[in-house]
């Protein structure tokens, strides 16, 4: 009898179990808005900007700042999907930059040790942020806003302490390339990658080169490689792993997730640690790149990172979003920031663009979410 029932139900419902149409499936992707934004911005600059912008060297030009922001935005997007904010990432860049530079220059530690210490320190700060948020039950918005100021202040104080009165710490590059071991790690975190390949390509007339035979682009800046790797890893973790499912669950409804056996506290704490770790990585990359650190490093990056994540489809309420979307959001930023210099448009329009883009993205995301969840 029961099997008969089931069989009947199955045969009746079978043809109603149709595949969702392609459009709907595309609409369901959180990255859709970011991809559309990228297309619009690209078309705009192809029309308006000097054609050198989309030459290989031009692309590297705007991808480098996009990569720095992108690493922060990917961390922010994971945390936002998990239902929390971190407003302290910008200050975290400055503070971990100070820690890193002080380790290398003031204390004179070997580069790999300094890198490890900096990352470990950032993870500890993330752990603290997470524990405070979880145990006090305060909104992460407030807790990390406090740390935005605390860390920025500590960076200023610490820099003066480490340098004897200045707010800039120089000489990182010299101190970080003293031994062969240091140089090896320096190559991973600074400069260009694939330089040999680019020289070979130039020698064989496969890419543009200067009259003296040097390639116009000597390699791919390492931060772009880091950015691509982290974006791929984050996207895979978020969409394909158990931990990723737990991130969605923790952000979607922490109580329901807990009832289903998801360790919500551990997931959220680890996300704060990842976000802080991303900030530390950006600090290491930028400090090595410029050879110095200062207290203004990472200024307002927390907002840009969150905006990139929102453009990438993250909902402010958590439980929905995409790491790839956040990466694309960061590329849009880089493209506009640098792209304006290839046009006759005043560069300060960048800020106007930032605000407008945020407003549009949130508006668009709300519509999409209603479509996705059938909310009425």
């Amino acid at each position: 009898m029961s099997q008969q029932d089931t069989a009947d139900l199955a045969s009746v419902k079978d043809e109603r179990l149709k595949e969702a149409p392609l459009i709907l499936r595309l609409m369901r992707r959180p990255e859709l808005g970011a991809v559309m934004g990228l297309v619009i911005v690209t078309v705009f600059f192809i029309v308006v900007a000097n054609s050198t912008m989309f030459e290989f060297s031009g692309i590297m030009n705007f991808l480098a700042p996009a990569a720095q922001l992108g690493i922060l935005a990917i961390g922010a997007s994971l945390l936002m999907v998990g239902g929390e904010f971190d407003l302290s990432v910008g200050s975290m860049v400055a503070f971990t930059g100070l820690i890193f530079a002080a380790c290398v220059v003031t204390i004179g530690l070997p580069l790999p040790v300094a890198i490890l210490l900096t990352l470990a320190f950032a993870a500890a700060m993330g752990l603290m942020n997470g524990q405070i948020v979880i145990h006090t039950g305060l909104p992460s918005f407030i807790v990390t806003l406090a740390f935005l100021f605390i860390l920025r202040g500590l960076s200023l104080v610490g820099l003066k302490w480490a340098t004897g009165g200045s707010t800039q710490l120089r000489g990182v590059r010299e101190a970080a390339t003293q031994t062969p071991l240091d140089s090896f790690f320096y190559e991973i975190f600074a400069g260009d990658a694939f330089e040999g390949l680019f020289t070979w390509l130039a020698a064989n007339d496969l890419i543009a080169k200067f009259p003296n035979g040097q390639p116009k682009v000597t390699g791919i800046p390492v931060e772009i490689i880091w950015f691509a790797l982290i974006a791929a890893l984050a996207a895979w973790v978020l969409t394909r792993t158990r931990y990723g499912n737990w991130i969605f669950a923790a952000g979607g409804d922490a109580n329901a997730a807990r009832n289903s056996g998801v360790p919500v506290r551990r997931v959220k704490t680890s996300l704060f640690m990842i976000t802080a770790g991303c900030a530390a990585l950006v600090a290491i990359l930028t400090v090595l790149d410029s050879g110095s650190t200062d207290a203004r490093r990472g200024f307002q990056k927390e907002f840009e990172a969150i905006i990139a994540a929102v453009i990438g489809g993250c909902l402010l309420t958590g439980g929905y979003g995409s790491a790839i979307g956040a990466a694309i959001g960061a590329i849009i930023f880089g493209m506009v920031l640098i792209g304006l210099t290839y046009t006759t448009i005043d560069q300060d329009w960048y800020l106007v663009f930032l605000g407008a883009m945020l407003l549009m993205a949130v508006f668009f995301n709300n519509i999409i979410r209603k479509r996705v969840t059938g909310e009425r």
Partner: protein, 263 residues
């Protein structure tokens, strides 16, 4: 299918639960057999919630005994109850509207494959199982990737129940599954409860709607003020008698007179 001669899946004997000076349960006895829907009726504050939470391992009973397959047990948490095969579908369902049906179905129990750095959730398997389970209960899921938020209340209830069944529940506690649903949705849930029963599970169906209870119940236990008012078997009792027992009989009769027989 009648299994009254067999050992009950779960037997609760004279369960008492005190919260400080408040006596929430003072001697409640209920047995749940395989292939049977045991309806637990009672008005608000009768102790239904306390009782099922005791059964689900959320509360430790102050007194009384709990037997599973004839053996005494003492749960120290909901995990123990779950391991013993007692699954509870609470009113808020533990479902996340923004996540897909598949992701909800396997939340917290995702099957993984691959070696550690590459270990990932076997989503092909998950989608297939979800699709099959949805088909079995006759829910029109266009694809398992659609968000739970797009399902109706009754469908969500059915997904929550089928999730518990799929993960090996022997006894299912349903906390007012029909209380917030319309007529069609209710009949859909009741039909599914009947299917679950036919698969040999024991179901504890909490409700304060006598008609819903009469539709699927094999046995009916009425709770009032933390006590069992008695257990009746289907056919022995009418809906009206159950209704009267729930409201404490006399009070309702008086009220009925006052209102001219409309209750």
């Amino acid at each position: 299918m009648a299994s009254s001669s067999h050992t009950p899946l779960v037997e609760m004997r004279d369960i008492e639960k005190h919260f400080g000076s408040v006596i929430a349960l003072s001697g409640v006895s209920v047995t749940v057999n395989a292939g049977e829907v045991h309806c637990l009726l009672g008005d608000n504050g009768a102790g239904k919630s306390t009782f099922i939470k005791t059964m689900a391992g959320v509360f430790r009973p102050t007194g009384g005994q709990m037997l599973i397959d004839g053996k005494p047990v003492a749960f120290s948490g909901p995990r123990d109850a779950l391991d013993a095969g007692i699954a509870t579908v609470y009113q808020d369902l533990a479902m996340i509207p923004l996540m897909s049906v598949t992701r909800n179905f396997f939340m917290g129990r995702e099957p993984v494959k691959g070696i550690w750095p590459f270990r990932h959730v076997d989503f092909d398997f998950c989608d297939r199982v979800t699709r099959e389970e949805m088909k079995r209960i006759g829910i029109d899921v266009r694809d398992p990737g659609q968000a739970v938020g797009t399902l109706s209340g009754g469908e969500r209830q059915c997904v929550a129940i089928s999730r518990a069944v799929y993960f090996g529940a022997k006894v299912l506690i349903l906390d007012e599954p029909t209380s917030a649903l319309g007529v069609r949705q209710t009949s859909m849930v009741l039909k599914y409860i009947d299917m679950v029963r036919k698969r040999g599970l024991g179901v504890v169906f909490i409700t304060h709607n006598v008609r819903h209870a009469m539709a699927v119940g094999n046995r009916f236990t009425v709770l009032n003020r933390g006590k069992t008012l008695g257990t009746a078997t289907r056919g022995e009792i009418t809906a009206e008698e159950l209704q009267n027992m729930m409201a404490g009989g006399r009070e309702l009769a008086e009220l009925s007179d006052e209102l001219g027989g409309t209750v």
